[in-house]
């Protein structure tokens, strides 16, 4: 139990941040669409610091674009889903997690720069893979550091 709590702290903070960003991204179009302009503008303004917010590259909700693009939406969903997967597993110390995380992350980064897929759905899937992979890598790194710093007993 102590082992899990220690190495899950940092990934948990990342996942919480991702979840907050996702909620804000959905709150922006919901505010403008349901309550009327400018209810959601604060969220758009806040998230403009981390995303280009191109409307044609974003999913739309209530006739307004989400406050982050499709790739970012997929990415933050992937981070959250990756954390849930890590939480449900015994612990991301195995090489399988490291290899899988690296493969997913590298594929997503390559896709983003080369752009071999088109359309918002594919961008979101690519982002999801990247976010999921990143979370596995972060979890592996945290577990490794926890072991090295003797924060947790070696199994």
């Amino acid at each position: 139990m102590f082992y899990k709590k220690t190495f899950l702290l940092s990934p948990g903070i990342f996942a919480l941040l991702a979840l907050i960003i996702l909620v804000a991204a959905v709150a922006a179009p919901s505010g403008n669409g349901l309550l009327g302009y400018p209810s959601g503008e604060r969220f758009y303004s806040l998230l403009s610091e981390i995303c280009h917010q191109f409307p044609t590259r974003s999913f739309w909700l209530f006739d307004h674009p989400l406050a982050i693009c499709a790739r970012c939406t997929g990415g933050y969903l992937g981070i959250t889903a990756g954390f849930v997967a890590v939480l449900l597993s015994k612990g991301p110390t195995g090489r399988n997690y490291l290899v899988m995380g690296a493969a997913l992350f590298v594929t997503a980064v390559l896709e983003a720069y080369i752009g071999f897929s088109d359309g918002n759905i594919w961008r979101a899937i690519s982002g999801f893979a990247g976010g999921y992979g990143l979370m596995l890598l972060i979890s592996c790194a945290c577990a490794f550091l926890s072991l090295k710093l003797r924060l947790i007993p070696n199994r």
Partner: protein, 160 residues
């Protein structure tokens, strides 16, 4: 009876072609800048234009066509300067043309800021060479093709 039918047939297409459509306030409109805007070469109040990226369709009737022109101005700008000071630029779009020529009031603001180099310039000039203080920062550039989200203000009736 025959005359009435002819009148009705002549009148019906007229109704279909000149349907009045209400564009509600708060409608999202996607704009794309058509030319690059540079903080060092533009001036406050200078007119800027953008084109509508995706048509606005209300009840199956296109009220703002793709490619329709949106107009605005450079609202605020700061030139780049010595000691790595970066340029800043804010453009504001205020209206877009509907299919019947009506000017639809909108609100759309985009602020661009070049990467700030002040800290790096001060560190380099202190540690290596004071001449580094002459380093001029980058101008803020809003490139052509940048998408901007606009919102229509107030209800506007348009002949669709």
């Amino acid at each position: 009876m025959k005359r009435a039918m002819i009148f009705l047939l002549a009148w019906l297409p007229g109704i279909a072609l000149s349907a009045e459509v209400r564009l509600p306030g708060g409608t999202a409109i996607v704009l794309t800048t058509t030319s690059s805007i540079n903080s060092d070469t533009s001036s406050v109040g200078e007119a800027v234009t953008a084109a509508v990226t995706t048509p606005v369709v209300i009840d199956g009737v296109t009220v703002i066509a793709s490619g329709a022109q949106a107009t605005g101005t450079v609202n605020r700008k700061e030139d780049s300067g010595m000691i790595g000071q970066s340029g800043k630029l804010t453009v504001e779009f205020t209206s877009v043309l509907a299919v019947d020529g009506t000017s639809v009031p909108i609100v759309a603001t985009k602020t661009i800021e070049a990467k700030d180099e002040v800290a790096g310039t001060v560190v380099v000039s202190t540690l290596l060479c004071p001449l580094a203080l002459l380093n001029e920062g980058d101008a803020a550039i809003l490139p052509a093709g940048t998408q901007i989200r606009a919102i229509s203000i107030g209800d506007v009736t348009i002949d669709g």
